[in-house]
């Protein structure tokens, strides 16, 4: 027993050391260089003065932003992005203050200046563009369909007609479905975990939303669900920021470009969504 007690921590320490050196060699030299300084009065300068960046993230969206119930740590692609942003502005990835953003309050948070940026699986729509500014996109994905593993009655979007289908209020799928599968009976819940529960209990026969979110649900309920059919539509996820703050907008676009070129974006993707859907993904073009 005594030897194990000594060996175990040593082994962990060794792994950690190896792991960090491994990471260290692959990161761009930018990581160790001092942070850029900005003219006073800009959002970037304010964040540096404050010493931390305030971001709105989801707390219940697997793969994007989720608060780990065991450790209490924030996880997901949106969280990784926030950490990279904090590192770029303040020098340390730990200088992030997370604020829970739910679908309905994201615009209000930006308009009232409660957060510097929204990183909350924020899909770009024309309506939203009218009230907030978007940077990116930092992820392109598609609207997909998830069904019970033992169900073989649904294989494409036409099969959804006449069946109860679940998604959440505010999801783009809720706007798309009436045109793609007009006879589908739409059930809207507040969260995707409720949709998953309803699917399990056969209250609905399918959950339709962004593929990355569905992968997260499948990861949480291993072996219960599967994906079927092609993408119904493509979706772009972007950083949301206050409208009319052009300096901040330009900085964020530049930041995304920088992490995509340096490979940090790829690493963040591989650690989150890439872990359940391994693929050789290329970062999206920054167009907003």
């Amino acid at each position: 027993m005594k030897t194990i007690r000594i060996i175990a921590p040593l082994a962990i320490a060794a792994t950690l050391a190896l792991g960090t050196t491994g990471c260290g060699s692959s990161t761009a030299p930018a990581a160790s260089s001092p942070v850029e300084s900005f003219p006073a009065g800009t959002t970037m300068a304010k964040i540096q003065q404050r010493g931390k960046i305030v971001v709105g993230v989801k707390y219940d969206q697997p793969m994007f932003g989720v608060k780990n119930p065991v450790t209490g740590d924030m996880e997901g692609l949106d969280v990784e992005m926030a950490k990279l942003l904090a590192k770029d502005l303040t020098g340390s990835a730990d200088n992030v203050e997370y604020v829970e953003a739910v679908t309905a309050n994201r615009e209000a948070f930006l308009q009232q200046g409660k957060v510097d940026a929204i990183l909350a699986s924020y899909a770009v729509t024309d309506e939203r563009k009218k009230v907030v500014a978007f940077e990116g996109p930092y992820l392109e994905s598609g609207v997909s369909t998830m069904i019970r593993n033992d169900d073989s009655s649904i294989s494409n979007k036409d099969d959804l007609n006449g069946k109860p289908v679940c998604t959440t209020t505010g999801a783009r799928a809720a706007q798309l479905l009436p045109t793609l599968a007009p006879q589908a009976k739409l059930t809207l819940f507040g969260t995707y975990s409720e949709c998953a529960q309803a699917l399990k209990q056969k209250r609905v026969d399918a959950v339709v939303t962004n593929e990355s979110l569905l992968l997260g649900l499948m990861d949480q309920n291993k072996g219960d669900f599967k994906l079927v059919g092609d993408y119904m539509a493509s979706e772009e996820y972007a950083i949301g920021s206050a409208k009319d703050d052009t300096a901040w907008h330009d900085y964020l676009d530049g930041f995304l470009k920088k992490i995509e070129d340096s490979g940090e974006w790829k690493k963040a993707y591989d650690n989150t969504i890439g872990a359940v859907k391994p693929s050789d993904v290329t970062p999206p073009h920054i167009t907003l």
């Binding site: 209000a108 309506e127 907030v132 209020t169 809720a174 809207l188 409720e194 209990q201 209250r203």
Partner: protein, 214 residues
Amino acid sequence: MSFISGYIADFSSGVMITLELTVLGWGGALVLGTILTAMRVSPIRTLNAAAAAYVTVFRNIPLPVQMVLFVFGLPLLGIQYSLFASAAVVLVIYTAPFISETLRSGLNTISTGELEALRALGFGPRPAMQHLILPQAFGTVIQPLGNVLITMIKNTSVAALVGVADLTFATNKAAVDEAQPFLIFGGAAISYLVIGLLVGRLVSTLDRKAAFSR
């Protein structure tokens, strides 16, 4: 403001669902609440205890919790109702204890002397309750019952939590789709206010009539 027009249909069906939930919830709660009151004041001890236990349990569990338990918990036991039916049933279950307690306070205003007089005149317990005691009890508590009703109308919004497309649900959906929460929720607030005011007027009228017969 032009975007509102796209949601008129959603909003009006939302208002209809809210009204349907109100009517069903109130009807059911009134029946269940009256039965509970009768049990509370009955001389049979088991009935009394059962009603007291019911009131204690369901009055103290928050409505959203009951709603989610009913919708997602009961299917685990193999019982599953439609979302709308679930919401209506939960509203009945939750509101009945409040009606029961209000009604009981009304019953307490009737003196025991009156009961004794009725018994002396040869009224059985049921006819006495039905024709003389309960009407008087209801008459005294119309205003407080009106309060319970208005509270329940607002409580129907909890149904939106489990995907019932009521007024709050339609509001939330439009607000998220259009990214204009203040304007749209403002509209919903006015809708609830109008419904509440109308019901308030109705209750006052009813109270004046009852006061006359009292």
